[in-house]
Structure formats: structure tokens, C-alpha cells
Symmetry: C2
Subunit: 151 residues, 2 copies
DNA sequence: CACTATTTTTGCCTTTAGCAAAGAAAATGT
DNA sequence: ACATTTTCTTTGCTAAAGGCAAAAATAGTG
């Protein structure tokens, strides 16, 4: 087997691992600062204003079980951040969408979370930022499709 | 403020978020396949054979609390993967190190985890792998030092 | 209409994690 | 020398995160 591949894989494994720990810590801090549980923040971050989602959709895109999602949505619903209505076409489905309050919060959240990253990125060159983008983009694609195959 | 920075920050925020979810799923699968709890896998992955660590060292490098680490180590100790001895120089300190069994397992773990990434990386070019490495390396550095400042 | 499949929820359990207090040992002041 | 403070780890308790299996509700099908 390719020796160069092995080296690169090893190095990338290590780095990704460290990045993961750091980003988890970062997410936890951010969520806490905004009075949210980490799971709630993660969930809110993927729902777009105006759209509606089934429990399953949210579960798969968050890589969590439907039952877990039910609980997360319970919390968001209790805080009046999302609405939960039965779909009329198929009443087995729930339609989860942001309330006005939810939309406002999510807007602020996305803005501030991007600002946080802007703060980190502001002292490096545009080219380096592109390198980060390209590298992570490639990696994300690989891991994502690996998951699809091996699930 | 720099409009280009804002765009790049936004894109990187999004990508990093997605990468994180995927990598967490990947870690969870891998740990499960090897009969380990995720926390145990994460801990084992950072201890090197021959070296010994204090609880605090492990806690800070895993971004966890000391008390959490005590529990994780309890588990590894129960499975005879690590030794825990009181330091002779300063008996407040614990010295955590891998047992022979632990070393064997960690060796296998690192090998197989790198192989898993090798599997993902095998179909792309050497140059793209370097792009991934460089991008993630840059990002890891930024997040890491951001955390130091904001903790 | 009985049966099967799908979607979500509920009950229950495990895992992950931190905080605050306790315990144990070292360092420090008087 | 001994009381006080500091440091490192552990323990008790609690919350948050997450999954599995069964139940509930609805849709589709023979």
C-alpha cells in the first residue's frame, strides 16, 4: 500500500481529531453564552426561516435518532422558538418550523457565530482563508460520503 | 468591516459545523466497533506508550474537567488498559500510563483509525490531500489559540 | 376490513459532563 | 513546629445528551 497515503492519512487523522475537540469546546461556550443547550443550538442552526421540517429530516441531518430529536424539539417548543403542527397531507408527519421569536434568535445566532469565526480569521490573509475553506470543504465531502457508505 | 472576511467566515462556519457532525458520527461508529465508549477512545488516543500523565494534563488536553477524567480513567483502569500510581515526588499527583494490554490496543486503534482515513483519502490526489492537511492545520491553529484567549 | 408499513412519541436506560465539597498531600507564613 | 493556604484528585450529586424498544397514530395494501 501507498506509503505517502499512509503518512498523509495519519497526519490528517491527528489534526482532525484535535480540531474536533477544539470546535466542540467552542460550540459549548457559544451555546452557553446564549442561554442554549448545545443540542438546541445545533438544531436551531440548521433550520431555515420559512421552511418546515419533519422530525426525521432533522434527525438525519443532525446524525441523531428521531427520538432524540423529539426531545430537543420539545425544549425548543417549550421556549416558543419552534412551531410543531401535524402535516395535513400525511398526519403522521410533524412540520417543525421557526416561530417569529425563533427566526429572530436564529438570525442573531448565525450572525454572531459567523462573527466569532470572523474574529479568528481576521488576522490571516485572504489566501489562507481560502486554503482553510478548500481544505475543510474537501474533507467534509469525504467524511460525509464515507458515512453514507458505512452506515 | 471587511465584506470579504464576512463571506469567508460565514462559509467556513457552515462547513466546519457540518464537518464536526460528520466526524462525531465517525468517531462514535469507530469507538463502538472497537467495544469502547467514545470518551475512552478519545482518551486512549492521546496517551502515548511509555509516557505518564497527570489527571490534569489529560483533562486540559481533552478540554474536559478533572472530575470527568477521573471517571474515564476509572473505566480504563477497570479494563486494565491503564495503570494509575501515585507520584513519588509529589503524592498529590496521579501518574496515568498505558499497561501492556493498553499499549497493544492503542497501537491497533491508531493504526486502524488512520486506515479508516486512508480509505477516505485514497481516491483523491496527493495534492488534494495536502490541501486538506494545510487547511485543517491552519484552522486548528486558529481555533486552538482562540480558545486559549477566550477561556 | 385486516394487515403491514411509516412517523413520531414515550418510557427507560446508558453515556457524557460539570460543580461543589471532601480528602490528601505539599507549600507557606508565623 | 504547626496552622493556614494551595494544589491535585476523587466522590456525590445533578443535568444534558443520546439510543433502543414498545406504543400510538396514521397511511397504504391485499
Amino acid at each position: 500500500m501507498d506509503i505517502k497515503l499512509k503518512q498523509q492519512a495519519s497526519a490528517i487523522t491527528e489534526l482532525t481529531f484535535d480540531l474536533l475537540r477544539c470546535c466542540e469546546a467552542k460550540e459549548k461556550m457559544f451555546a452557553k453564552d446564549h442561554g442554549l443547550k448545545v443540542a438546541e443550538f445545533r438544531c436551531l442552526r440548521i433550520v431555515e426561516a420559512g421552511k418546515s421540517y419533519s422530525v426525521q429530516e432533522l434527525a438525519t441531518s443532525m446524525h441523531l435518532s428521531p427520538s432524540r430529536l423529539t426531545r430537543i424539539i420539545d425544549g425548543l417548543f417549550a421556549e416558543k422558538l419552534v412551531d410543531r403542527v401535524q402535516s395535513i397531507e400525511d398526519r403522521r408527519f410533524a412540520k417543525i418550523s421557526l416561530t417569529n421569536k425563533g427566526q429572530t434568535l436564529v438570525g442573531k445566532l448565525k450572525e454572531e457565530y459567523a462573527d466569532l469565526h470572523g474574529e479568528m480569521l481576521k488576522d490571516i490573509s485572504v489566501e489562507d482563508r481560502d486554503k482553510i475553506y478548500n481544505g475543510i470543504s474537501l474533507m467534509q465531502g469525504l467524511v460525509s460520503s464515507w458515512l453514507v457508505k458505512n452506515a
